[in-house]
């Protein structure tokens, strides 16, 4: 697997799994407004995953669905932050906020890449992410002085560091107002037990009829 495919799969897996986790709020968010927001963000993140998987699939001679659903959990390249099963509002908002801030830096780097296909896709994703960022910033501003929210941000910070390559981490720390301690980072590569549980549910229908055309 070349470096480009690895990068595409890491990013796509993050987007798919964070979208999946966000979609868990559909129907149970504290307000209808947030039900709609989380559902819409989830749909869009999964759409970004699809577009990134398609670029990887073209190189690997497969398709986006196969990459999204037919790999085993240990083959996924997502960062542990997106796997966590956090059905608690302060942590959910802390993850959205940290994820969007880190994703912004990663997309920005991809937009400047010499790979025009990837740079073009990153530019499109960037435009759409504007609205996810507004949502995250709105909540982060509202909860900034709440001890529960601040504790959640600090607790998830080592996971947030693991989303990014080391060279992008200082900028993330500057934006969030925390310090980089790379020994503390929970790196991509190891998975939490939550991923296998999520994977089981996510792929259940597809696995029920292997090879079916849906």
């Amino acid at each position: 697997m070349n470096e480009r495919v690895q990068l595409l799969l890491s990013t796509a897996d993050d987007e798919l799994i964070v979208g999946w986790r966000d979609s868990e709020w559909t129907g149970i968010a504290p307000t209808l407004e947030e039900d709609v927001a989380f559902s819409s963000i989830a749909q869009n993140e999964i759409g970004h995953a699809r577009a990134l998987y398609e670029l990887a699939a073209a190189e690997l001679g497969t398709n986006a669905d196969a990459l999204a659903f037919d790999r085993s959990p240990h083959e996924y390249r997502c960062a542990p932050l997106v796997e966590l099963h956090l059905l608690e509002w302060a942590h959910t908002i802390a993850r959205r906020y940290l994820y969007e801030e880190a994703d912004r830096l990663r997309i920005d780097a991809l937009m400047r890449s010499a790979d025009t296909e990837l740079a073009g896709l990153a530019a499109k994703i960037d435009r759409e992410e504007t609205y996810h960022r507004l949502h995250a910033e709105l909540w982060a501003d509202r909860l900034r002085d709440e001890p529960r929210f601040r504790a959640a941000v600090e607790e998830l910070w080592p996971y947030a560091l693991g989303l990014l390559e080391p060279e992008l981490r200082p900028e993330l720390a500057r934006r969030i107002g925390l310090r980089v301690d790379s020994t503390q980072a929970i790196e991509r590569g190891e998975h939490t037990p939550a991923l296998a549980e999520l994977w089981h549910e996510m792929t259940e229908v597809r696995r029920s009829e292997p090879g079916a055309e849906w």
Partner: protein
Amino acid sequence: MVTAEQVWHALEEIPDPEIPVISLVDLGVIRDVRVDGTRVHVSFTPTFLGCPALEAMKRALEQTVSELGGEPDVEVVSDDSWSTDRITPTGREKLREAGFAPPAPRAAGPTTLVQLQSKAFRCPYCGSTETRLENIFGPTPCRSIRWCESCRQPFEQFKTI
């Protein structure tokens, strides 16, 4: 043999699967039509990558080309060449008539919350600018929900991207 002009003409009849008042051509998502013998190459850009209507659009394009006797080759281009500024004036008018406020023009930088909360958004029903943002997100990724203080009803606002 089919010409590019005939293809464009036929594509004008394909409605957007989710907002059928507007055609794919008026939406500005058709990027290019090229005819090479019997083969008709159509490239289009999705509005939002999370758009669930992407496959439906692709199938509709293929079917239209086939009905003209061409051999369809539909390519989805996922770059940033589409923005809401590409919706045609006719398209914007059709959206408004159907109760969807057309998108505001793209500004130099990314959209900010201050812009969304400004008085620049007009109610498609009564024309008032006394409207406020209810939710950045709506029934599809491309729409927000606003509320008109004048005629006291909610309406859908196309997001600017």
